[in-house]
Symmetry: C2
Subunit: 119 residues, 2 copies
């Protein structure tokens, strides 16, 4: 197909649309160091659960004063959250994270509006 | 090389390492709506300049109270910032954005520490 020659570098099948999700939470400042340390060693089964639930390219960023910012990509954030809610490992993890926030973090995630994007 | 068979799905050449950069700034709350509107229509030459300077997968997220969060991927953030500083279009854009912050936003970007990542 000569008409396609210029597109040779592109994949033949377009990828499904991706939602880029950003959220912020406040970690209790006096517990920020411990929260950081816990995230050096997230349980492998928690990482697997997130992956299977469709959380992709997921990062957490933590400022010294405890502002926590999350960024992830997924096909359907509502479904990705619901899938995590159905796992036992998430229940255990969130219970351990609650004291860092004073509330259960996974039920407090409010996506922030994306106002600009450049691929 | 039979030992590599399990890696067949991976690219033969590893991609260069990517820095994932997150920053936050405060938009004056009374100007947040106008800031959002301006980003629906970022100048094409500004988008091109960012792309050529190595800013990839770059998103801005804005909360109703003016918290602005930026996320991008790049090979070298310092170099990517310096490359933008050398462009005339960035000078024009930043001058127009300054009143939304009360300071020039591009010289106020402080990357926040990434404490967790899942591909």
């Amino acid at each position: 197909m000569p008409g396609r020659a210029v597109d040779a570098a592109r994949p033949a099948q377009p990828s499904p649309p991706v939602q880029r999700i950003c959220f912020q939470l406040q970690v209790l400042p006096e517990r920020a160091d411990e929260y950081r340390a816990r995230h050096r060693d997230v349980w492998p089964e928690m990482r697997d659960a997130l992956r299977h639930a469709g959380w992709r390219n997921y990062s957490l960023f933590l400022s010294p004063d405890g502002l926590l910012i999350g960024y992830l990509e997924t096909e359907d954030f509502e479904a990705a959250q619901a899938a995590m809610q159905r796992t036992a490992v998430n229940e255990r993890w969130q219970t351990e994270m609650e004291p860092f926030f004073g509330t259960r973090p996974d039920t407090a995630l409010e996506p922030i509006e994306e106002i600009f994007h450049l691929d």
